[in-house]
Structures are given as structure tokens and as C-alpha cells.
Symmetry: C2
Subunit: 252 residues, 2 copies
DNA sequence: CGGCATCAAATTGCATGCAATTGGAGCGCC
DNA sequence: GGCGCTCCAATTGCATGCAATTTGATGCCG
């Protein structure tokens, strides 16, 4: 079932990648909320490895933008600012438009069946927890990326999709994923029909509406706590660019 | 001058990031060719750190796709297949179109001056070695990405640009970067004028022609040696997907 | 009662050491 | 002479240990 999720790219040794996968999944299922602490000792003990390995795994996840690593401080699950979340979605839209552009009209019957099966699974999961729904919805997009047979595209789509998941737990309200499922079905249909322009539009609209459902207001009023609310500001201070380059109006 | 290149995102500790930056630079300047071995001991000794740190750095670079890490084997500089190179360029085109779309008409005079200064530097470097020209050309694109003020975009553009550099040393012939410089100037002009559509076209065309100059033939006849020529095949075997999903015609 | 210095526990940063795996040289066999 | 086998040096995989830094708690002083 979940065998395909391995990805393998850039995953060094087994123990490290096991931890990475576990943490990634915990994060996208929101078992680990943004800001959650990830001490090396605790991880190592939990996964039965030494701190060295846990540390290495954290490094990988930091490279993917899922955790934040500050020197001499406990690693935490990343807390993207609202603007970063918006940026992630913008990038995701372009990447996934590329995915469906490459895929339109080129899918085999078996692949279309696999996609439909996945959406069926999403449908069945509607009664269950949000966590599973979100994970399945994300995996649908990653499954699409896989079908391009382009490891690089898979990597980037996966990463940015995970990041977008992260922001859902931060800024979105309880979530209703029904419409998303229908949109997935529409995308499959357009892919099968081979309508390149149409499917790109559909994907664009789909992701845009997911983003808009999620990023309701630029101020994360219901952010987890002060730390999260303050995160964007801290970010600005951290960014080494704002001093030199006068900030431009973003996304006019 | 090069201060801006720090990026900071996902770079954990200092020693690790120093090694990463050094290796990245060595790779894009083609001092380290694809396939070059990177033993942990040697790196550690060279940079005055322990193997643990060198290993961690290699892990980061592997996450960026610049080095390949196979279990119990010496790490090597990544050797992208021709198809992967083409994919990288396709992704890069979309990402950089996004960059200039966000930037069109929003740059300050200071920023435009900075861009022009950079291209002047590229011009001056024309007499020098190819290595410096390539590095400067790449840094121009990264500089643009920085000006979006979007760390995520910076990260992805940087990564994919580095990957594209990698492929230049594999598949491209000696290289003449003059036209590229003019194209850079044209992009700056269009950005200043604020012509969003035009600048996106320019960037698209620019990157496409760079790709076409580089990826002359789908068969890397002049590839470094057997190992490189065989890389794509090895890749196919490695990929865990080909068995289940019948391969679709790529980029028809 | 609130602010500040001091100190101990917790945690990371990094090097070292040992076991396991690999690559290849040398050697015997066909 | 070519092919396969065995064994050893080289290298990675990982755990542990020690020094340095941060956290936050306690107690002191205003």
C-alpha cells in the first residue's frame, strides 16, 4: 500500500531514513504540531538509535524545511510564517501544473486505475480522522508526481506538499476535504482525456482553493500560541536580507 | 560581495555549512566533476573536522541532489542522467518564471543597480576561466531569487540551478557564455520596465537556450567514461517504480 | 514584591573508537 | 592466458564520551 512512498532519493542509510519517514508522517498527520520540540536524545531513545543518527535525521528534515535547527537549541517542527506558507503554495502550483502538463494524455489505464483507487481510499477515509484525510490528499499529489517518472519533480513536489501540510495545522480551520476529493476526480478525468490546458487549470484552481481555504487571513489569530504568532516577526529579524534590500511589495 | 550567498536556511551548524558551501562551490566550478569520489576521511582531514561532520555535510548535499550516497560506498558527486538534466531545466524554467513574475516592476533602483553590477562582473569575467563565468551566471539567477524575499523560492532556485550546473560539466561543450550575458541584461531591462509577460518569456527563452546549448544530444557520447554513460540505466534499475508502473513516453 | 546574578541540569557540538561491509590485489585453478 | 576465490586494506555505519552552551531555577538584593 504505502510501499511507493519510499522515494529513496537522498535518503542515506536505513536507520536515518526510517526516522525521517516517521517524523515526516507524524508531522503531516499533525501528531507533531509546528513548534513541537524534537530533542535528539528523545528521538534516539524512541527509535532505538544513538543521538548521532537522530541528529542526522533532523539535519535531513531541516534541509527539507520541515524542522528548524538553531545552534545549541532543541530542534523544533518548522513554523512557517503566513507569507512563507503563501509562497510555498505559489511554488506548489507551478510545480504541479508542470506535473499534470507532462502527464496529460500519457497515463496508462493501470495508472488511471491506481489514481482512482487512491481517491476511493480518500473517500472511504472521509468518516475517519482529519489526519488520515490530509495525508491521503497529500499522497494523491505525490502519486501524480511519481507518475512523471522524474525523481527531481517527485522530490520537489513532495517537499513542498509536506510544507503546505504544515501550514494547514497552523492557519486552517477544522477542514472539510470533500470538495477536494471531487477536484481530484476531475483532475484524473482531464488527465485521461488528455486535455493539457484544462488539467493545468484544474490543478491550479484546486491548489489555489486549498490554499485559500487554509490561509484564510494573513494574521494567524488562532495560531497555537504566542510563539507561533511571533514567528513571522522573528523571521524578519532573522532574514539577513531585509537590512540591505528595501522590502518590495509582495504579490501585488 | 558574496555575502548574500549565505542562505542560512536549513544549514545547521557552522562547520557543516562551511563544508557544504565549499563543496557546492567546488562542484559548480567543476573543480569536482560528476562521479568524483568524496571519502569522509579525506573531507574531514581537508577541512579539519571529524568524519562525523563531513558525513553530515555529505548528507545535506545529498538532500540537495548534488552528491550521491550509496550505502557502504564512497559518496560521489552526482551524475545526473540526461533525462534528469532535462527535468531539472524544466523545473527551473517554471521556478524562475515565477521569480521574475513576482519581481516585474517591483524592483528598487538599488536592486536594479545591484543586478547590473553583477552582470558587469560577469562581463569582466569573460576573459577568465569558464569556472568563474559559470559560477557568476548561476549567481545572477540566485540573486534574482533572493530579491523575491521568499526563502523557499531561494532555496529551490538555488538547488535546481546548482543541479543544472552539474549537468553542464557532463553534457555541454566548452561553453560560450556571451549571449547569456546579453540575455541577463535584457531580463533586467524588462524587470525594470515592469513588463511581466515579456520578462517571463525572456527568462523562459534564456533558460531554454541554456539548456539546449548544454543538452545537445540525448546520448552523452562525450560523457566522462563508461560509468557516466551507464548511469541512466543504473538509475532505471534503481528506481522502484518501473516495475509497477509501465513507463510512459516522456515529453512527447 | 520584582528584577538580577549565579549555578545546576539539560542539551547540543563534535571527536573518537569499534564492528561491519566493500573493493581489489594476489593467488590458485582451469 | 583468463577466470574465480580468498584475504586484507580502506571505508562506512553507528555508539559512546567529553566539552561547550543554553535553560530555567534558586536565591539575593533593591
Amino acid at each position: 500500500m504505502a510501499a511507493r512512498a519510499s522515494s529513496k532519493t537522498s535518503e542515506s542509510s536505513d536507520k536515518v531514513s526510517v526516522i525521517c519517514r516517521a517524523l515526516r508522517r507524524a508531522i503531516i498527520e499533525q501528531a507533531l504540531e509546528p513548534g513541537a520540540k524534537l530533542p535528539e536524545d528523545a528521538l534516539g531513545e524512541r527509535f532505538g538509535v544513538s543521538r548521532t543518527i537522530a541528529r542526522h535525521a533532523l539535519g535531513q528534515l531541516a534541509a527539507e524545511g520541515l524542522v528548524e535547527l538553531r545552534r545549541n537549541r532543541i530542534a523544533v517542527v518548522a513554523t512557517p510564517s503566513w507569507q512563507e506558507a503563501r509562497d510555498a503554495f505559489d511554488i506548489r502550483i507551478e510545480l504541479e501544473r508542470l506535473v499534470v502538463r507532462q502527464l496529460a494524455g500519457k497515463l496508462t489505464k493501470a495508472q488511471i486505475a491506481e489514481l482512482n483507487a487512491h481517491v476511493d481510499a480518500e473517500d472511504r477515509a472521509r468518516g475517519g480522522t482529519d489526519a488520515v484525510s490530509i495525508r491521503l490528499a497529500t499522497e494523491f499529489h505525490i502519486l501524480l508526481a511519481h507518475m512523471t517518472n522524474s525523481p527531481i519533480l517527485v522530490r520537489y513536489v513532495s517537499e513542498v506538499a509536506y510544507r503546505c501540510c504544515l501550514t494547514l495545522s497552523l492557519y486552517s480551520r477544522p477542514h472539510s476535504s470533500e470538495c477536494a476529493i471531487n477536484e481530484h476526480r476531475a483532475i484524473i478525468a482531464a488527465l485521461a482525456k488528455g486535455d493539457e490546458v484544462k488539467v493545468m487549470e484544474l490543478m491550479h484552481h484546486h491548489l489555489d482553493s486549498v490554499a485559500n481555504r487554509a490561509l484564510v487571513a494573513p494574521t494567524p489569530q488562532r495560531g497555537r500560541d504566542l510563539l507561533d504568532i511571533l514567528a513571522p516577526y522573528a523571521d524578519e529579524v532573522t532574514s539577513d536580507r531585509v537590512v540591505k534590500l528595501p522590502k518590495i511589495a509582495r504579490r501585488g
